[in-house]
Symmetry: C2
Subunit: 432 residues, 2 copies
């Protein structure tokens, strides 16, 4: 890596300043149509990559730079990326979703399923502990301690279920990026973390359908919970079995074609189709994209596919991470606000629960040898899934805007803490 000392200002920074400045161009407002949208995407790309470069030169994973770029561009600071719900945000959301789909597709392409199966029971145990402990602690904290500053509506216990739920799911995307940035994708710890994170996503889907049912005023049944779980696992198994039967021969045919870009277009179409199928049978987009990567990895064309998909993923994934950063409202931390202290205290307590609950998960599989602190730290980032839970709760009128922002702060904090912690741990434990 090219790191020679401090970051010096230079012409490159002129470009980012030009794009970051709230110039008259932004004044076109969210109704500025396609040109305005393209400028926003350009600013997200440039700011994400430049701050990613700064993070790397400081010895940090580049994903942190992208999240910081999002914080800066978000509606609470520069206002370049419009707040959720504004016109045009559905377009940015589409590009961000394509980014996370491509990211998980890439992770799948790089994941050795046989190696992962070897750590399967350990990953399952880590995931189970990592979901249960934060949920119980979060629920207890919210249900039994007073939070007058948050002003939530509805039944306090229902709100507490939502808050607990936001603490459960690990962000596969952020964890995978951090492990990749650190060059540690090929360790036993990484496999346990990723395996547990995928299982977390499946459990997260179950929780999401349960909390969505609560938000809609329905009741929770054991049969409903079981069905959601069975669908996610069933989809993954069916996709892998059918995929490994059908895809290798199809891939041979496609790879023999000569039309320009056939590999990148057809393999990404495959990832999109599996992502859509997963969502339509009641599972999650990213589970389908991950399965598509796992299936194509088993063909002998995996290196070609990886080579062609890499630039597309490198282009779109930052849009996802910048968009996650942009969702945070940093104004809540403004010390001149009367409730800033209370908000910070609650967010701090929630972050503590989030971090402690996942660190404990590192000790979830005592019968297997691995570096427990590494796995625990790897499970800490919450990211997108926690944000989805919080958003469902807010839209149902259960979580107040303040509680939503507190959850956002917790998610951001875990996302910032985990890469730094992993970096420090990996530096001290070279064998891990």
């Amino acid at each position: 890596m090219w790191r020679h000392g401090a970051v010096r200002p230079g012409p490159a920074w002129l470009l980012v300043l030009l794009l970051l400045l709230p110039s008259p161009l932004w004044a076109a407002g969210p109704d500025g149509g396609l040109p305005h949208l393209l400028l926003i995407v350009a600013a997200m790309l440039v700011a994400g990559k430049l701050l990613g470069e700064v993070a790397e030169r400081l010895g940090l994973p580049s994903v942190l730079g992208e999240l910081t770029a999002g914080l800066l561009l978000g509606s609470s600071l520069l206002g370049v990326v419009p707040a959720a719900g504004a016109p045009g945000t559905d377009m940015i959301r589409l590009l961000a979703e394509l980014g996370v789909i491509l990211l998980l597709f890439e992770v799948g392409l790089e994941t050795d399923l046989r190696e992962m199966a070897r750590v399967g029971p350990a990953a399952l145990a880590v995931a189970a502990v990592g979901v249960t402990v934060p949920f119980v602690l979060g629920y207890a904290y919210w249900a039994w301690l007073p939070h007058s500053a948050t002003g939530d509506g509805g039944d306090l216990r229902t709100v507490a279920i939502f808050v607990g739920a936001t603490l459960t799911a690990t962000s596969v995307g952020i964890t995978a990026r951090v492990l990749g940035d650190l060059g540690r994708m090929d360790t036993a710890e990484a496999r346990i973390i990723l395996g547990a994170a995928v299982i977390d996503d499946i459990i997260g889907l179950v929780i999401l359908s349960v909390v969505s049912g609560i938000a809609a005023g329905g009741t929770v049944t054991a049969a409903g919970v079981g069905a959601t779980f069975a669908i996610a696992v069933g989809f993954l198994v069916a996709a892998l079995v059918l995929g490994n039967l059908l895809v290798p021969r199809l891939a041979d045919r496609v790879l023999r074609m000569r039309v320009r870009g056939v590999v990148v277009a057809v393999s990404i179409a495959f990832a999109l189709a599996l992502a859509a199928l997963a969502a339509q049978v009641g599972s999650a987009l990213i589970i389908g994209a991950f399965a598509a990567g796992l299936i194509l990895r088993e063909t002998r064309h995996a290196p070609t596919v990886e080579h062609e998909v890499r630039p597309v993923a490198a282009l779109l994934a930052p849009i996802f991470f910048v968009n996650v950063g942009a969702a945070a409202d940093v104004r809540l931390l403004d010390p001149t606000r009367p409730d800033a202290g209370a908000v910070l205290l609650i967010a701090g307590a929630l972050t503590l629960i989030a971090v402690a609950g996942k660190l404990v998960a590192g000790w979830g599989a005592p019968w297997v040898r691995y570096h427990r602190l590494t796995v625990g730290a790897g499970m800490v980032p919450r990211g997108e899934v926690g944000l989805i839970f919080a958003d469902v709760g807010r839209q149902a009128g259960l979580l107040s805007d303040t509680t939503f922002s507190i959850v956002l702060l917790m998610v951001m904090a875990t996302t910032f803490i985990a890469p730094v912690a992993l970096k420090v741990i990996f530096a001290r434990v070279p064998g891990a």
Copy 2:
């Protein structure tokens, strides 16, 4: 190229059949949200590439396969790609616009400006003839001959101006793709065609602003026409002068960065930003994207940028062409319709004017040596710009749905005729 005889059915076709079939998945309708949209995009990609491969094996440019894929997937046949205006179409439109931006960015990266300047006067003459002749012929045909079958509203002469306008602009995208597919990008004829097509686009913008003014009930002033023209030319000149001053040093800094995907992300951000700037000063997106490519070509990093941008362009450009094909309503040609004969006759006459008017343009620069028929044939495809004109007219209530579809048929016909004609001409004139 890999061409061994006829196209055989095989497992690859199972995949496309699976995606093309109007399965229960499509039944989710345009309101199916993100998963449904992803399935549509996947179907567009797979069908575009597979029919592109069929076209190549038949010895035709692959872009014809992509347009045919669009015809098949469009709302008038399989209905996989929803009709314009349906929910979700703005998302597909965004991806298609990104595709055409990347395509023109790539064309710019491959265009030698010095070579192009040498053919400048010839290109200008070809463009001028190619705009004037079809416009005058189209206007005269529509204003002076009766078209009872079309049922247009408003003043007949205003409608005739619109119809004439749709006949003027050459599709840089389709022409560039065809020349690229045929491996003839590096000929004098190709430079004249592309130069004239870009000038056509600038003239087309002027016409668009004029016809938009007419549609809005305004009056046409010479000052307004002059201003639109000056903006487009001024933008191109200013972008090239400033770009060539500032960008090479910036590019050196960006290329020295080590964060993953910095080249692809920052160079595409540059193309998006210039495209947006062009549109916001009153010119067109594709002129900005083309300028961005021209500027980056002058840096010594052009090969790196081209290598990284290629997979992204190969992924998104087909979405544009499939989307163009999907806009055509082939049901108008249904022989059981009472007006099918009249519609076909009018569309045929318009196509004849369109083809003849552009072929004449090939002889527009008698003082320069080049193969005149090749240049004339290269100017024939209309594509996106003609469709934009027609759409403005329809939305203003001036063009009836039938006239709109006739214009669409003309655009499609020119788009199908040109590649075949170029292919035949290039085969007979090896030196051209």
